[in-house]
Amino acid sequence: MTAHSGTAFTEIEATPNAEATAEPEAPVFYVTEEHGHAEGSTMLGFWIYLMSDSLIFAVLFATYGVLSRNYAAGPSPADLFDLPLIALNTSLLLFSSITYGVAMLEVEKRRMGLTLFWLGVTGLFGLGFLGIELYEFHHLIEEGAGPDRSAFLSAFFALVGTHGLHVTFGIVWLVTLMFQLPKHGFIPENRRRLLCLGMFWHFLDVIWIGVFTFVYLMGVLLA
């Protein structure tokens, strides 16, 4: 770009001065970073996306933290939350994290069948997590503890619902890759997509640590 504009400039000027004569020797740029590592920048970019996503969750956590005691004479966390169910949910998400890790190890060994198997297991754990969460939400709304009941419940549904929405999109992404993978094989693009989804999936597990600690456990403990 600079070289082009430079030549155009000298043509218009038509008076070769010292700067113009120096122009043809355009500065040489040395790429100090390694070549052929194109997924590198994608991974960093995706990481920065995850960091910005955690800011969304930080704001939702802060909102929940501020409103978590405002029951409006309604039910408190100790009345509502079923901790054994949450423990089951947490373990499902944790299992899905390690099965995704195993799937990535099979990708390294280029074994299509086992990769798809472990991705499928991951998806089933994810669906189990979502199923329990939807059951919990349904149960709460049936009991009259829906998001419209109190500020505490509004903030609760916003925070936990946003996490559940992320898991839903993670599963959609997972299923998409389970179709793309057999179709195109272990091409670099697919491996890059799998790495990104892996980061996304593990990141959701990290957010869930905050949710079960800050919302469920501390809610029951301090209610």
Partner: protein, 136 residues
């Protein structure tokens, strides 16, 4: 410990070893052993807080709250290291830098909101539960 010393080496020979550091990024996807260690640690770090809360281990709930927050913090670090394979040399340190920056913003957001709003709350006019029930 060896991982730490390797990291230090990588930092010391940053220029010359930059390629090596990236070439073993095959291992930055982690091994099965890594995932297993991470899984066992995460399971233990999850089970203990649930046990603390369900069986009311601490008399003082505030002590329990602080303890489970510490467990959550440690578990987040475990997940970052063993599942997200975060280390100081991945992407030339930019991932860690972005993480530190985000962590600062998260702490400011959370601590700031809770601090300011709790003061605001205690300066509000008191309201009895009866008045609260008759709220529109």
């Amino acid at each position: 410990m060896t991982a730490q010393s390797e990291r230090q080496n990588a930092v010391e020979h940053h220029d010359t070893d930059a390629h090596d550091a990236h070439d073993d990024s095959g291992s930055h996807h982690g091994s099965f052993k890594d995932y297993l260690i991470g899984f066992v640690l995460a399971a233990v770090l999850t089970a203990i807080p649930f046990w603390i809360v369900i069986y009311d281990v601490f008399r003082n709930p505030m002590v329990g709250a602080v303890v489970i927050l510490i467990f959550a913090f440690v578990q987040i670090v475990v997940h970052m290291v063993y599942f997200l394979h975060l280390n100081s040399k991945s992407e030339g340190g930019w991932t860690v830098l972005a993480l530190i920056f985000t962590s600062i913003l998260v702490v400011i957001t959370l601590a700031g909101s809770l601090w300011v709003m709790s003061h605001l709350d205690s300066n509000m006019m008191p309201m009895s539960p009866d008045q609260m029930r008759s709220m529109p």
